[in-house]
Amino acid sequence: MAQQLRIIVLIKQVPDIEKVRFDVETGRVDRSSAPAETNPFDLNALEAGLQIKERFGGSVTVISMGPRQAESSLKDALARGADRAILLTDPRLAGADTIATAKALASAIRKLGEFDLILCGEKTVDGDTGQVGPEVAELLGIPHAAYVCEIRDVSRDKITVVSDMGDKYLYELELPALLTVTRELNSPRLPTLKDLLRAKRAKIEAWTAEDLLDYISIDQLGFQGSRTRVVKVVIPTTEHRKGIILKGEDAVEEIGELLLKEVLRR
């Protein structure tokens, strides 16, 4: 079957959420406190793209938006088997909310030309919104399925997927289409050392806002194009928790009485 599907995977570099520190006083996120990594959900999207490519033939292009450092996530994607990597990087793209981010990504996809399938993670571990994927689909005028936990079938012009909405639903989408995927979809492969070394030398294409201006105006991008503003950030404290530590024999009775009072005798 000569299908040659043109697949695009959208990825984001995020701080390792296990290690990142937050300043309770200022509400600041200290991004330098943690190493950067690819958003874990995006690795499932990439894996799905690579598996489809291996089965049906075609190409996988990875696009990210962010500072120069995000090149390392794109190189990691190349090491895992992606064919081409593009980084949208420009101070004028910074400070973007979800709609301004989606506009930049959709413009880059338009510039790339024809495509069949766009894959992204269901959300990121830093923004937590899950909005950019469906927004990109709307801007490109293509169907999408969210929370895809299984890809049942792919053909030249259709894809059949299971969408996990609590209950699970089966959808058939006409291509081109966009999927946001869950971590249950697959287990992402690890790159080999050889591939990592090869990718280290690979060239990442860097696009600036200038490169997108045939498809969108500058006032639609970055902070200027954002429709939402962060007024302030607060680090939630756990001070409202009692923090009672129990050990030994008495713990059973104490917790037991608590359960009787709070649940069973209520």
Partner: protein, 335 residues
Amino acid sequence: MSGKGILVYAETVGSDIHPISFELLGKAREIADKLNLEVWSVILGYGIGDKASELIYHGADKVYVYDDERLSDLNVIAYKNVLVDLVRETKPEIFLIGATPWGRSLAPRIAAALDTGLTADCIDLQVSEDGKLIQIRPAFTGNILAYIETVSKPIMTTIRYKVMKMPKRDPSRKGEIIVRKPEKIDADGIRFLGKVSERRVNLADAEVIVAGGRGLKKKEDLKLLEELANLLGGVVGVSRPLVEEGWISKDHQVGFSGNTVKPRLYIACGISGSPQHLAGMRDSNIIIAVNTDPSAPIFRHADYGVVADLYEFIPRLIRFLKEVKGREGGGIERA
């Protein structure tokens, strides 16, 4: 009345209204009264026409009803088209949608079509002194709370289930029901082929959750947690590693990539408390943690931390509860 309004999308489950819709109406009513706005609601589906009055009883002044066979399946493009048309016509100031999986898939398409700001997964809405809507949402896997303002219209927000108070149903409330028949429902490119499976457990509605993590040694040991959960009228939850091991279905997973829960009581057994897990349960009313490691992060988020081996502690706790139950006979009811 000002002729301006807050629009609330009433999500349906089959031909019933999802309870989150009433929670949103309650919050919309509160904000509308502060900002001198009306509360409008819109319901889409098939065989749902008789449900509109429930939305009025819970706070809506006006309900738009789209009852059409072509809307019987959850088709995101069909629903988006109808809702975008309604927003363009009625021009609400604010548009609220539940942050259910369906709402989170639908809302961004509408926001992009309307070129307006959308704030995801809010846990509170406030009105500032100068009359602006402030949307509060967790970010960084629940580690921070961001206060967000929207600079376009309508202000669009998705709101988490069970964070807003359920308003009192008042069957004497009056309102206007407007039945609409869309001429053309364009649902190109997506075909709904049916339900594959139903969720096995509904953690979001559970009052008591007994959750297990890496501290469990084998799949069979989940039975221990199940026994305690049954005694308390609750359900079993787990952290992500147990789902990855294939011990239990994802319906039971609590955390950032699973379910966000807010039970009255959460008992974390052998769970260390990764940021991903905390993001799913930190808003529980009472948190009890059982862990052998006194430095486990979960203890910093617990009301009661028990430093013990769950394999010793849980069976003794079960025995204690059974003994009291036996003594007091029918005096103890399940929650």
